[in-house]
Amino acid sequence: MSDIQTLFNEDPLNLTRENYVEIVNYYRHARQQFVLGDKKAGKAPKAPTEKLNLDDILSDL
């Protein structure tokens, strides 16, 4: 597995088909991570829930 930046700094004439596959897979994986993060970011966080105790509420009245 080559470092992606090494591939970008290499003369394209020296890159093999496998190198191009690596580049595609690198960005494909990056996109999957991004989409995953985007979906998580899109969901509103659950509001913390707390059980109510009716005795406590009535005692304040």
Partner: protein, 304 residues
């Protein structure tokens, strides 16, 4: 190279959506951009990056239309872009934060992945070729001389079959977040009306409108959104009738060599490039033009 102007004049006969858009915004902007050919120095990176982005997606579309599968097409596109952006023995270096070589490759791969199962399928033209990157020149039935009618010119990214209708497509890039109202700017819109008109006339296809695939190119991600803009026959006829008004306006300005500013347009769309020039006294404007702009004449007759 053929000039888009009538011989010996500044009267334009070959128009595209870009030059017509400049004129509609402001005669002075049209003068600086089209007649004098000034372009902001900073725009060069955006132009070349945008051209590569379009090329990458065009190659992908062609390969898919030829029967190559998604993975193979992507590998070939990446290889092509890596070669195109290897300049003078080294990788192309950008002075732009997000329009970089790496982000170009990322954006093209992400686009193809995003629209991998795209229901919009490239139309195959009567000549058997895929309707991709279509350069056009369409003669209008009027002109200022008998020999030279007005022409409408340009490039359409693709014609697609989508959900039982035919659409032109156009790809846009932006640095901003694509909000829900992003696509409102295309309805009405000069470029999209022109594309719908010529698609109907030149390729004889009953085009319903244009599909716009917008990409927000940021430093760490590229995000996509698709919008539609529709045109009825009535809208297209109305837009076409308006052309003679604008072409005559341009001819009148050219005859008088008088290019008034539309100073209500200066601050729209993020502000006109020439705002700082026009804001100066007339005798010093040339100095400001020469410092911040380069001459790079625009010619609608040049195919992409």
């Amino acid at each position: 190279m053929t000039s888009p102007f009538l011989v010996g004049t500044q009267i334009q006969f070959a128009w595209d959506s870009t030059s017509l858009g400049w004129l509609k915004e402001c005669p002075r902007k049209y003068y600086y951009s089209m007649i004098e050919g000034w372009k902001p120095k900073a725009e060069a990176v955006n132009l070349i990056w945008g051209a590569w982005y379009h090329t990458g997606l065009e190659v992908y579309d062609r390969l898919r239309a030829q029967g190559k599968d998604h993975d193979e097409a992507l590998i070939q596109v990446v290889a092509k872009l890596m070669f195109m952006t290897w300049i003078d023995g080294k990788p192309w270096k950008s002075d732009h934060a997000s329009k970089t070589r790496e982000n170009l490759i990322r954006s093209v791969i992400w686009y193809c992945e995003h629209f991998k199962e795209d229901p919009a399928k490239t139309v195959i033209l009567a000549n058997g070729k895929p309707a991709v990157e279509l350069s056009f020149k369409m003669e209008l039935d009027f002109g200022l001389t008998l020999e030279q009618p007005f022409l409408l010119c340009g490039h359409i990214d693709r014609l697609v079959d989508y959900s039982g209708g035919v659409y032109g497509t156009d790809r846009k890039t932006t640095a901003s977040t694509i909000a829900s109202n992003y696509f409102d700017q295309f309805d009405p819109d000069n470029q999209m009306s022109l594309y719908t008109l010529v698609s109907k006339v030149i390729w004889n296809v009953p085009v319903k409108g244009i599909i716009i695939d917008a990409a927000q190119v940021a430093v760490g991600f590229t995000r996509f959104a698709r919008g539609f803009t529709y045109r009825t026959e009535g809208q297209i006829d109305e837009w076409k009738r308006g052309l003679s008004y604008w072409f005559m306006q341009a001819a009148e300005h050219a005859k008088k060599n008088d290019w008034p500013m539309n100073d209500k347009s200066c601050h729209k769309f993020g502000g006109c490039h020439f705002r700082k020039v026009c804001g100066r006294s007339p005798e010093v404007r040339e100095v400001f033009l020469r410092s911040d702009f380069v001459k790079n004449p625009w010619n609608p007759l040049v195919p992409r």
